[in-house]
Structure formats: C-alpha cells, structure tokens
Symmetry: none
Subunit: 209 residues, 4 copies
C-alpha cells in the first residue's frame, strides 16, 4: 500500500519526472535537453526513453499531474456547490497548495501552457479551454445567485480572476519566492479573492464611485 504523496509507478519514473520538472522549469520546454534531465535524475541517457517515449511525452506526463489535480478540484467544487466566493477560493487554494509542494509545476503551467501559443497542442488547448469553461460556470452561477455583478460577461470575470491568480504565482515563481508557512499562503489567497470581489478601490468614502 502506497502512502507516498507522489506514489508513481516506479521510483525511477518518479525520479525522472521530478528531474524533468525542474529542468523544464529552469530552461523551458525547448531548451531543456534530455541529457540535462537524465543527468539531474542521475540515471543514464537511455533510461528516460525506457519510461517515456519522447520528450513531448514526458512533458505531457508532467502536465497531466497538474490537469488531473485541477479537474478533480473542479469536480469537487461543482458537487459541493458552496457558492462562487468559496468556490473561487478553492481554485486559488489548489494553485497555492500545488505551488507549495511543486512550485515548478505551477510555473510550467503558467509559462508553457497558459500563455504559450507556441507549445499549445490541440490536446493542451482542450484542457485549457475546459478549465476556462468550468470557471465560467462558477462565475455565471455567482451572477445568477446575485453574488457577482451582472454587468460583465462571465467570461470577462474569468479572465480577470485567473489573470490575477496566475500573475501572482508567476511572479512568485519569478523571484523563486517560497511561501513561508500557511499564514502567508492565507494572506495571499485572501488578497486575491478580496480584490477580485470587492475591488482595489478604497472604501474610505463608504460608497463606490
């Protein structure tokens, strides 16, 4: 029975995935050489190909870690139906939690997929659009329920929300910032959600412009 948080098929496979994750993060998909990965995993060149049939395949395997976790969260969110604010918070938490455990994974998602038109294969685009679509659903439900304003399309809200979220983690990644404990994580999550919901505008005057 496996208890390991990353219980991969074989220890070598996990080794390779971790090494690949780091390498892709450091050099990007294109500049990462298979030899870099094998060296980082301290295994022979050819062994990588024993577990993954190509560089592309290896990259895909890494992305799947991300998408699988994300779609599980999205499914759970839909089931629970706790309302837009809490649901968005769960998305933020997935990003932040994953960032704590595998900062590189979040980085790769943001840099190589979320923003890269060059690396976008049909399959990847499909995942991405599905995620956007599910988020749209949360926004629309929130508008329906009266907790989100209706004067903008749900899709616009999705853009703004995900953009803020991505940029946050992206920026943290850029400066290799470690999240210091759950306290800071809380704080960041809150700030994103709070600004998204209530705006960055000052409430000093008691009303909005």
């Amino acid at each position: 029975m496996k208890k390991n948080p990353s219980p991969l098929k074989s220890s070598k496979e996990a080794l390779i995935l971790d090494a690949a994750l780091k390498t892709f993060k450091e050099k990007g998909l294109h500049k990462a050489r298979m030899s870099d990965i094998s060296k980082k995993a301290r295994i022979s060149y050819g062994l990588v190909y024993h577990y993954f049939k190509s560089k592309e395949d290896l990259f895909e395997a890494i992305l799947n870690r991300w998408w699988q976790g994300l779609f599980e969260v999205m499914a759970k969110i839909r089931e629970d139906g706790r309302g837009a604010p809490l649901e968005l918070r769960e998305i933020i938490d997935y990003f932040m939690d994953t960032y704590q455990d595998h900062p590189d994974l979040v980085n790769i998602f943001v840099t190589e997929i979320s923003r890269s038109t060059a690396n976008l294969t049909p399959k990847r685009l499909k995942n991405f659009q599905e995620f956007m679509f599910l988020t749209d659903g949360i926004m629309a439900a929130g508008q329906q329920a009266g907790v989100l304003r209706r004067d903008f399309k749900a899709r616009y809200l999705t853009y703004i929300f995900l953009g803020a979220l991505e940029t946050f983690v992206s920026a943290m990644v850029l400066v290799d910032q470690k999240i210091k404990g759950n306290r800071q994580k809380e704080r960041i999550a809150e700030s994103i959600l709070e600004v998204f919901l209530h705006g960055a505008g000052s409430r000093d005057k008691g009303k909005r412009s």
Copy 2:
C-alpha cells in the same frame, strides 16, 4: 520627420521586423527559424544577418518596440499625475492600442517575456522589473491619495492589475480575436478597470461584506 507607418531606419529593416514579429508569434521564439522569417519577408536568407547580427538580436529589437512605447507612456503618466484610476487606464490603453495595431507584439510580450522564465535574460528581466516598479509607484500613490485600499501591499495590487490585463489580451490573442472598433475596446478597458477598482462582487445589497 517620419512618414512611414512603420518608420524604421530602412524599409528592408522594417520588413524583416514585421516578418519576425509574425513568425515569433506563430511559432514562438525557439521554433521560429531565420529562414521562416526571411521567407515571410520575401528577402534572401542572408540579408537578415545584414541588418541583425543574430536571432537574439532581432528578437531584442522587437521587444524594444514594445518597451520603448510602454516606458514613454509610463513617463508621460508620471508627468501628468492624473491619479491612479486614470493612470491605470492609460496603461490599459497602451496595451489595447498596441494590440489593435500589432496584436502579435502584445502576444510576444505576454508569452515570451512576461511569463517565460526560460527566455528571461538579465536585460529583459530588468525592463520587466522596472515596469513593475513603475506600476507599484502608481499603486502606492493611489493608496497615499486614498483612492486605493491600503490593506494590501502595492505590489499585490500590481500583480492583480497586470495579471487581469495580460490575461485579457492573452486570451484575445489565443483566439485571434480582432477588436471590433473603438466601442469594444472601450468596453474591455472599462471592465478591467472597473472590476479592479470595485470588484466583481455584486453591489445589489448596497454594501460589501
């Protein structure tokens, strides 16, 4: 005095830059071949090297278009000092206007620079951080002036604002969406600023949580 719509040192140089822009956008920095660029520019292979000493150099020249324009705007903003809301609006406008004229340029900024750790040379990082720093200044001044809330660091607000903005254009780029006239541009710009300032939360209840 410049009359050329793409006024560059020589017409050939402009030709190459335009071709490079399109090519980088379509294939990404890495997958774009110099031969693709020369072909798209309808010039000979070697001529590219007459004007630009390397692929990297060509890429840099393109980015400079972007940074130069952006820093000009930032300088003007600082001079005018019209307050955070209007100043942020000017940033949005620069993104949107540039997107209208050169969608690919905005795309390249977002995909290859804003989010890519792989392509980030020290020089590029410097530009990027400078831009963040200037935006921080706007945010901080807004907080000072009481138009932006003070319970979050200026840097956090910067992340959220720029993230929302980038994701918007990034998404438009992804679907190759053309902005249909100034009306739509207005609408998008407004929605970004409005949500950033006042939040996506419904105001139906007359007050915030």
Copy 3:
C-alpha cells in the same frame, strides 16, 4: 533420434531461431530489432542473449541452417554422380523444398547474402564462393561429359543457372506465393531446368539458329 519438427538443442532456442527468421525476413537484418525477435518468440528480452551472444551470432546460426543443408546436398550430389542435369535438378529441389518448409530462410539467403555486398563477412563470402565452386564443378563435369555446351566458361553457366533459380524463388517470396502442392513445385523446377538446358528459343523450326 530427432522427433521435433524443428529439432534444436533446446525448445527455447528453436523458438528464438524461428522468430528471428521471420523477423529478419520481414524487416531485413538491419531493421530487425532484438526486441522484435523476443516479442515474436514470446520470451523476455534478455533471454535471447542467453542463447545467442549477439544479433550477428543469431543471424549466423540461421544461415548455418541453410548452408549446412545445402552443402549436405552438394556432397550427396558429388557422391552419386548422376550427371549434370539430374544434379542441377537436385539443387533446384533443395531450394524448392526449403522454400516450402521455410520460405523465409530462402528469402534471407537470397536477399541478405546472395546479393548483399554490405552484409558479406569473410566467412559468409567463403561459404558462398564454395557453393559457386561446387556448382562450377557440376557444370564442368557436364561439359566434360558432353551434356553441356563448352563454348562458355563453366562459371558463366553457373551464374546463369543460379541466377534463374534465385530469381524464381526471390519473386515467389516477394509476392509471398505459396507453392500449391508438389505438382506446381515440379512444374517450376522443370521449367527452370528445361530453359536452362534447352533455351527459351522456339523449337518450332526443328533447329536452332
């Protein structure tokens, strides 16, 4: 006393040889992978190396099947001394019989050895030349005995005879033609020998040009 239809040292060894035979035939010596062979033999990868020390060794073992049978026939022919026509017929029969039982074996001989300068190791060349030499002997004896014309070198006759024979089986292999019963086998054998001995020229006029 051997009872096994493919009686080899061990059943696994036979399994491997058969699988290798098929694989070499399908893909050629070079493109045949050891993994293909082990897969076809339904044994593990490494076991092949338990029985054969290398791919080359395995190939050699297969060729030996062929050469051993052929040289046995050639020895028997020499002993019996039944005259060129019948002796040539026995060579044809060896080709045809082997083709019936192991078409792939004949194919490999023709494609990888008889015509391939690339795969020709000294040992293989030696076997091949020995066979040519023995055939020369038959031809020369036939010339001596007055049943074969003397106006061409024995070696020339050897070329023409073996060429015709090889091309026949080679062509049958190419279209994966199965010999339908002994009747057809007879017919083919006859036609080769008949044309070789008496020519393709019409005998309508009762005499030759």
Copy 4:
C-alpha cells in the same frame, strides 16, 4: 548548353550523388552514414541536406538515375519492335553499359532493390513491377511471333532471363570485376542471350532431348 553525360543541376549535387553511390555500394543503405557520404564528397555534413532532404531522398535520387535510364530503353525498345532476341539484347546492353560507367549503380539496384524485401517501398515496388511487366511484354510478343517457346508462361521466362542477367552483374560486382573493353562486354552479353535462347545443353547430338 550541357554536354556532360551526367549533367546534374549543380556540381555539388553531382558530387554528393557520386559519393553516396559509392558509399551505399560499400556499406549498403543502412550502414552508410550521412557523414560517410559528406566525407567522401569532401563537403560539410550539412550541405548534403541542402541538396537532399533526407537519406532516403538521396537514395531515391540515385535509384531514379537507374530507373529513368532503364525505362527510356524500354520505351525505345517498344517503339522499335525489333523482335524479342534483339530487344532482350538491348536490356542486357543497358545493364552492361551502366555497369561500365557506374558499376555501383547496378550493384545497388541488384542488392538493395531487386532482392531486398526490407528496402522495398511501395514506390520502388511499383517501378520494379512495371519493369517486370514490360519484360513480360517482350516475352509474350516473342512467343506470339514464334521465336520463344510457348510451353512456359511469359512471366517464367522473364524470371529466368532477368535472374541470369542480374546474377551476372551481381557476381561481377561482388568481385569488383572491371569489364575489360567492349570485347568482353560483347562476349558476356552474348553468352547470356545465347544460353537463354538456346540453352546450356550441348548441341553435339544435333537435337534436344
């Protein structure tokens, strides 16, 4: 105006083709490395790819030399209609002449195409079958005209004829035999045709068995 018998598009292209021809002949299609070819042509590695898009493409270009010449001969033969014996002689001459000028080319045809099932792409098979078919036509016409015996299928005669021819050149290639002047060429051509038409059987008894 080009007078050169091998007037290729560019001198470099011809250089590469010649080097490739030799290399393929020496090592076979698979074992020939592109670096061998470039080295033999005394050009840089990459230049080969400037002229040919792949190893396969280069190989194809070489084969085309052969097929084009052969099909031209076959077309001329059909037009002239000089009767089977003379027509077959023309085929023999094409083989012998090409052998004199480019022995390696004939070798490659025989080893890598005529007998190799492994290297047989659909396109190559098509050429080969077309050639067989055209030869069938000559044989059938010969049977019709009463100069070739009718008791064997035209296809059988084709096999025997081409087999004898191929084996001859193949054997010459094997021992790297140079044809010493037109005299020997004549002699070889005659022997092939003569044996094919009238058989190797002795005519001492004035009639056949």
